[in-house]
Symmetry: C2
Subunit: 198 residues, 2 copies
């Protein structure tokens, strides 16, 4: 069984993660943390060295939640085409899920921390590269098994897909206009189709 400290730590992260995603690292105060958890400062600082450590853990938690949602959305796809379209499908309805209502933790953290918070920026950077590699793998598998043309620019498409998704979430959230998601996802789908070997 897990220790009390481990459970409390997980509890703090779970309760504060959405606060960090909504208000950002700087915007989230210790009182926000004690309020969200119902615990006191003593409990927080007994389990984390400082606010930054909570923020880092909350970031991992938030990003893991998004990527496991993505994995789930792809879990029933067999072909590479279906996997990629499951990704665009996932983001088409992104904001319908309560758990994603404060936007994308990647984009939120990227814009907040790029010039101010090296530790978090490094984590964001690593996650973007990992994400890109994941997309590249799906594409390469599709090429290998004959779903896609051999001359598909795998790296370029992975860049395009990530960038389009991130922009769509950011702009759609800021404007409350979902056509900023729908149209770009349609476009990505059409690019995927154009890669097909028929």
């Amino acid at each position: 069984m897990s220790t009390k400290a481990e459970r409390t730590k997980a509890f703090i992260i779970e309760k504060t993660s959405s606060v960090f995603n909504q208000k950002g690292v700087v915007g989230t105060s210790l009182s926000d943390i004690t309020e969200a958890t119902g615990l006191t400062k003593g409990a927080i600082y007994g389990n984390f060295a400082d606010k930054e450590e909570v923020a880092l853990a909350a970031f991992e938690y938030n990003v893991d939640k998004v990527f496991s949602g993505l994995a789930e959305a792809m879990s029933h796809s067999v072909t590479s085409v279906d996997k990629l379209k499951a990704v665009t499908g996932f983001y088409r309805t992104y904001f319908a899920a309560e758990k994603y209502k404060y936007g994308c933790p990647m984009a939120n953290t990227a814009t907040e921390c790029d010039d101010t918070h090296p530790a978090l920026q490094a984590k964001v950077k690593g996650r973007y590269f990992k994400w890109r590699k994941g997309i590249e793998i799906i594409l390469n598998e599709g090429i290998a098994n004959g779903e896609f043309k051999h001359d598909v620019d795998v790296k370029a498409f992975a860049n395009l897909m990530i960038v389009t998704i991130q922009g769509a979430i950011v702009v759609s959230k800021a404007t409350a206009d979902e056509s900023f998601v729908a149209a770009p996802m349609d476009f990505l789908d059409s690019v995927i189709e154009s890669y097909r070997l028929k």
Copy 2:
């Protein structure tokens, strides 16, 4: 001639704008403002009601700077195709300019303020809509003068262009990998080409 107050106000905005773009509204303190300007609190609060008013003015200043840069980039384009390609060209070298080094004020403000700062969110929203309309106008002109096919989905492309640009800037900034800009801009250019008549 302008009054002293007007000049000081402009001076404060000019000196603090990049601080706001770098650190955000919450992350920029009054001491950041006095430090950046060399003025005291008395001077700041003699010209602005509160910090929010400075933040709003700084946002307008930052966004105006980007869009006037964009306008300049397009100023020598005659055809609609050239105008749209001037936009992608502008963003290809975005971070080379010292004045844009802290990223896009639209994306930065969008992610920071969407859940926390109604006044700034409203401004961001309005600017996104205005930007989209501007792109639509260029496309419609191109259709009217026979540059583009008649069945081009103007609204969809405008959404795609804005979203792709914003995502490219955000991800490229966070990763320091410029291929997150180059590849998506190449794609946008190819889409523009595909809209061409004959």
